[in-house]
């Protein structure tokens, strides 16, 4: 479903603030795969998702999605295949539009947006049902602007919006990180349910080792713009979150971590 071959990306090339964010990424994600992506801060996870979604074009390498070479396609073109949920609950919705309007926008993914036709009564009824599933008390608030919703409500809604028009690929970037534990659990639950029901291919960035192992069927670890581990099947099943932290620690040399930072890592990835 997703195939990256030799993808490189440098930001500010030649500048002394140059960042070599992706260093030759080769990755194949099969249809129906649910990949969890872990890695230290700044290791390039978000950049990888951005490269797939088309926020920028890679310096080298090719990206294929659903059999189409999309390397030179802009983000809005790729949106017909790819849906995204961002870490920031503010990023995924239009705050001044109403819940119903946002849903309508989401529903139009990959379809023409005509200056006729619009939000009809039947679609509103449908939105009511869909929103009810989120269990976020949104069913009576279809006409409220997004700006008046809580972060958890927004993120759940963003998730619904992402899957609404049946994309092929779902990219999730720490989408539960900014939520309170209860909302985070609910959004995670919904994520699993949606991916399963709609048979989506998903890539999810997370900083929670538990989540990384619990959700999905494959875990990819990134360090310094490269993929260093790709865990599947039994190997993955055998691992505990602590093992994962150990793995990070083993990469100390590569990342030139100081011993103190190891403790920081432990704390962070618990």
């Amino acid at each position: 479903m997703i195939r990256l071959v030799g993808v490189h990306k440098r930001f500010f090339p030649g500048d002394n603030s140059e960042v070599y964010a992706l260093r030759g990424i080769d990755l194949q994600v099969a249809e129906g795969d649910f990949v969890t992506l872990i890695g230290t801060n700044g290791s390039g996870k978000s950049t990888l998702l951005n490269a797939i979604a088309g926020s920028f074009f890679p310096d080298r390498g090719t990206i294929t999605v659903a059999g189409d070479d999309v390397t030179k396609r802009p983000d809005y073109w790729r949106a017909r295949y790819i849906a995204r949920v961002f870490q920031n609950p503010f990023s995924g919705t239009a705050p001044d539009l109403t819940v119903a309007e946002n849903l309508r926008l989401a529903e139009l993914r990959g379809k023409p947006r005509h200056p006729w036709g619009g939000l009809g009564r039947s679609s509103r009824a449908r939105y009511g049902d869909e929103v009810k599933r989120l269990e976020m008390q949104l069913e009576d608030r279809l006409d409220a602007t997004i700006g008046t919703l809580s972060g958890g409500q927004r993120q759940a809604l963003t998730l619904l919006m992402a899957v609404m028009a049946d994309p092929k690929v779902l990219l999730l970037d720490e989408h539960t990180a900014a939520l309170d534990p209860k909302s985070a659990a609910q959004v995670a639950k919904l994520t699993v349910a949606f991916v399963r029901e709609r048979k989506l291919t998903a890539v999810m960035v997370t900083h929670s080792m538990e989540q990384a192992l619990e959700l999905g069927n494959r875990t990819v670890m990134m360090v310094l713009g490269s993929i260093v581990e790709d865990l599947v099947e039994q190997e993955r099943r055998r691992l505990t979150p602590d093992d994962l932290v150990e793995k990070f620690a083993d990469l100390r040399k590569v990342e030139r971590l100081t011993p103190e930072l190891r403790e920081v890592l432990r704390a962070e990835y618990r």
Partner: protein
């Protein structure tokens, strides 16, 4: 009223701009400065196409397309090259300035004689008054457009547009091509701005290359204002708010004008007002460091206080002549024709005395409709509003006023006797705040006329309302007079109008020979009922109201109450001028009228004695003569507006000449002329506002100085006589097709710069010179005219004219350097404002290179020019004044041809001449009116 409807209409035109701004500013969060240029582009395209004969709707549509393209360019620069939107807007706006000039081909295109969308509306909707009609049509169009636009924003496309602006990251991730949406939005915004530009040009009657300045702020102000009215996600309501915002904005401007605020302060007020709205609606970008110490509430309070301070200062320093206009209350008892006639004559005479409602007097006209409690509340209302004077018509009204208004001057009219209501003891000894004009119908005269008409009459019937003091007195006197003449009187009372018919029937039963009616408001209100009884019975009716004789009375003895109104008006005028009512004696009416109804007489078989007829005719002649005299001797103060565009040297000279001419030997005082001087300080919008204000205030004459003053005024006014001066080419300004065929209410002077003479003199002074360099700003209409003239003259005198353009005074030095490279022999500028701003610099540069600098402004020699050969604008002002005097003396502007008048004068700077090595003959120097040595 016109002011407000005018404001509404302009607001409706600006609503399109506001809607466009909503799209860029609110939907896309872009402050788009391009609109300053695209507004003008719209005006320019529409104007040039209209002049070429294109259908107005098509021309307007083309303007919209042009504006949209301009917006698309800005959006392209912004999205494609990632240039900051504000900067991209500034770039395109700057470029548009040149584009607009190219489109128009000159700085200003008049549209006075051209068919426009507004003339189409005028012709196709032939109901209502023109402004009102326009308001109705425009409101419907804007409302329809509002519905369409709101619906559009709710379609899938509209939703994507809003989504893209609201959260571009999310929109892109959802498949929206955000760049394309930005492009579309900015094009849409500028298309709307161009639409408003095109419409405003057609509305005001001309397009000018600098008319778009400040459009951005106007649009944003409307949007911000509209949003502060409607805070809701509903686009229908939001767009309506924006439209209302645009209208309210125009109303505020009108209000500022209405309260007499100096137009110069309008811009300041606009800025303050936008700021206040921003602060109040909390949309101010948070100044984190400041806002922690100063919460928003405090900011808002400070803003409001500051504004209040400004308003107070403006109010405190307002010009003295804008003082409160006198408030005059008029109250009459009922709708009796006598009272109506008094009131109308009063108002008419006040008009002749120069009083204009809402301008130098404010009327409060009330009618108690015969109801005494109403009368009291009217007087109470007067007491609250403290009028400068109250006119009371009829005895009850006067009585009510006397009791309540003790300090306010009261002038009464059409009352029988002020003495019986205790307004005084005699004509000169009376209440200090009361005076007026009165007169009873002499009852002995009435009896005498009855006897001469009906010698055989023995019994007379009469009736009156006993509750009316005056009537009772009249009736008493009548009965006494009748008795003295040996007649008996059958009398009856009436207390309501409905009783009149019955009372008349009762009288008729009593075997009477005639009915005689003494002055009584109630009975005369029921006069028709009286006639219904007397006519079939052939009962002669003699009345005391000469106005009503035609209704079927045999004779009437009474006053012409028009005279009463006129006399009252003159007394009122004296009081308003400062005299105390105490010192003005009561004035009895002088002219009693006897009127005889020949047809009725014939019907009744009554023979009118010739001597009685002669007396009646004499009385009528006397009244007619008095009225005629009144009309002739009325003082007619007249108001003239002198309107100049700016304070530039030329215009100031001209204005001085004009005023000197008008005030010469006290002429304006003798003519009772009030001269109001208005100056637009070089600002376009202000010029428009002043022109509209002049029309609203119904000046008797208008004199304009400068082309823009002429153009704005000629458009706004087609009836008030108007004389213009200091205009280079009035035909290019669009007020006519030739000097003899021009807009009918105006005439004036055309003053060309003496370009041809100048070129000739250059030829005489420099026989070997080959090339003349000229620097000019193509956006100045008059500079353009001069350059054309120079091209012709140079050809004639064998020069090559080297032209270079400048568009700002900052470019002058470079331009002169460029010119020096072109091997010129003489440098010339003609009435170009841009160049004249840097005259010293230019002159110094040229002197250093030994190039003679010749201009068309004599004053330039003081600034180092070698020679200034130009019009004497003081003189031009003087001659404009002479022309104005002719028109004010009654000449019709239509019949006066526009005159070409250029009083030439030469000024020389001999110091510069010596420096650059030019030798001048002594005769030539002697001819100069001014020489700098």
């Amino acid at each position: 009223m016109e002011l407000w409807i005018g404001a509404l209409n302009l607001g409706l035109l600006y609503a399109f701009l506001a809607l466009g701004t909503f799209v860029t500013y609110r939907i896309q969060n872009l402050a788009d400065v391009t609109v300053d240029g695209s507004f003008t582009l719209g005006a320019a395209l529409a104007a040039i196409l209209l002049v070429l004969g294109v259908h107005p709707l098509l021309a307007t549509a083309a303007a919209v397309v042009g504006g949209a393209l301009a917006g698309a360019v800005t959006a392209f620069l912004h999205t494609r090259f990632r240039i900051n939107a504000l900067l991209a807007g500034i770039l395109v706006m700057t470029a548009l300035y040149s584009v607009n000039l190219h489109v128009m081909g000159r700085a200003n295109i008049p549209l006075l004689q051209t068919k426009t969308v507004f003339t189409i509306i005028e012709r196709s909707v032939p109901v209502l008054r023109p402004e009102l009609r326009l308001a109705v049509v425009l409101s419907s169009v804007v409302l329809a457009y509002w519905a369409f636009a709101s619906a559009f924003l709710r379609t899938d496309f509209g939703l994507s547009l809003r989504g893209a602006g609201n959260n571009p990251v999310m929109a892109a991730a959802g498949g929206v091509n955000v760049n394309r949406m930005v492009l579309f939005s900015v094009a849409l915004g500028n298309g709307h701005a161009a639409l408003t530009g095109a419409l405003v040009a057609q509305y005001q009657g001309f397009a000018d290359v600098s008319m778009g300045v400040g459009t951005v702020v106007l649009g944003m102000a409307s949007v911000i204002l509209g949003e502060s009215l409607a805070r809701t996600p509903n686009v229908f309501v939001r767009l309506l708010g924006v439209i209302v915002g645009a209208i309210i904005f125009r109303f505020l401007v009108a209000l500022a004008l209405f309260v007499g605020l100096n137009p110069v302060d309008l811009k300041l007020l606009t800025a303050g007002f936008v700021l206040a709205t921003l602060v109040a609606s909390g949309k101010l970008p948070s100044l984190s460091s400041l806002s922690s110490r100063w919460p928003r509430g405090r900011w808002a309070a400070a803003g409001v206080l500051g504004l209040a301070g400004i308003a107070l200062a403006v109010w405190a320093f307002r010009p003295k002549h804008e003082a409160r206009v006198p408030l005059v209350g008029i109250v009459q008892y009922n709708d009796n024709p006598v009272l109506d006639r008094t009131r109308e004559a009063f108002l008419e005479e006040m008009g002749r005395l120069g009083y204009r409602d809402g301008v130098n007097v404010q009327w409060m006209v009330h009618n108690a409709q015969g109801d005494t409690p109403t009368l009291r509340s009217i007087v109470d209302a007067f007491a609250r509003r403290r009028p400068d004077l109250v006119l009371t018509i009829s005895t009850p009204a006067t009585q009510a006023a006397l009791g309540r208004l003790k300090d306010c001057p009261i002038v009464f009219a059409t009352i029988a006797s002020p003495f019986i209501i205790q307004a005084g003891q005699s004509d000169t000894d009376h209440l200090p705040n009361v005076t007026g004009t009165y007169g009873a119908v002499p009852m002995d005269k009435m009896v005498e006329v009855v006897q001469r008409l009906l010698p055989r009459a023995r019994r007379l019937g009469t009736m009156w309302d006993p509750s009316a003091t005056n009537s009772a007195v009249n009736a008493e006197q009548f009965i006494a007079a009748a008795k003295a003449a040996g007649l008996t009187v059958e009398a009856t009372h009436v207390t309501t109008v409905t009783e009149v018919q019955q009372a008349t029937e009762a009288l008729a039963q009593k075997n009477i020979d005639a009915i005689v009616l003494v002055p009584d408001n109630l009975v005369f209100s029921g006069l028709d009922a009286v006639l219904k009884v007397t006519k079939p019975r052939k009962l002669p009716l003699v009345i005391s109201d000469q106005e009503r004789m035609e209704a079927g009375a045999l004779a009437a003895i009474g006053h012409d109450y028009a005279l009463s109104g006129i006399q009252a008006a003159r007394i009122a005028h004296r009081i308003l001028q400062g005299e105390s009512p105490k010192d003005i004696p009561f004035e009895p009416y002088r002219n009693l009228m006897i009127r005889l109804n020949a047809p009725v007489a014939k019907e009744l078989g009554v023979i009118i004695a010739p001597d009685l007829q002669a007396e009646a005719d004499r009385s009528a002649q006397q009244v007619a003569a008095y009225l005629e005299e009144a009309r002739r001797t009325s003082i007619k103060p007249r108001r003239v507006a002198v309107f100049s565009f700016s304070d530039s040297v030329v215009l100031a000279d001209s204005e001085r000449g004009l005023l000197d001419e008008l005030r010469d030997q006290g002429w304006s005082d003798r003519e009772h002329l009030t001269i109001d001087i208005k100056n637009a300080q070089g600002d376009f919008a202000t010029a428009n506002a002043i022109a509209e204000d002049i029309v609203r205030l119904r000046y008797d004459f208008i004199i304009t100085i400068s082309t823009i003053a002429l153009q704005t005024t000629a458009k706004a006014n087609r009836s008030i006589p108007h004389v213009f001066g200091t205009v280079t080419d009035p035909l290019r300004a669009g007020i006519g097709t030739s000097f003899t065929s021009h807009q009918s209410n105006l005439t004036g002077l055309a003053t060309m710069q003496p370009v041809r003479t100048t070129v000739r003199v250059i030829r005489e002074l420099f026989p070997k010179a080959k090339r003349i360099g000229i620097l000019w700003n193509p956006s100045e209409a008059s500079s353009e005219v001069c350059t054309f003239a120079a091209r012709v003259a140079c050809k004639e005198y064998g020069f090559e004219l080297v032209e270079l353009h400048v568009s700002a005074s900052g470019e002058l030095v470079d331009a002169v350097h460029a010119m020096l490279k072109k091997d010129i022999d003489v440098f010339f500028t003609s009435g170009d404002v841009t160049v004249s701003m840097g005259v010293d610099t230019v002159a110094a540069l040229l002197a250093r290179h030994n190039i003679p600098y010749v201009t068309n402004a004599p004053s330039d020699v003081d600034h180092g020019a070698f020679m200034g050969l130009g019009a004497n604008y003081y003189d031009v002002g003087r001659v404009t004044g002479k022309l104005a005097k002719r028109v004010m003396g009654g000449a019709r502007p239509e019949a006066i041809a526009i005159e070409s008048y250029t009083p030439e004068q030469v000024a020389l700077n001999l110091r510069v001449a010596q420096q650059i090595g030019v030798v001048l003959s002594s005769e030539f120097v002697a001819k100069a009116s001014k020489v700098v040595r």
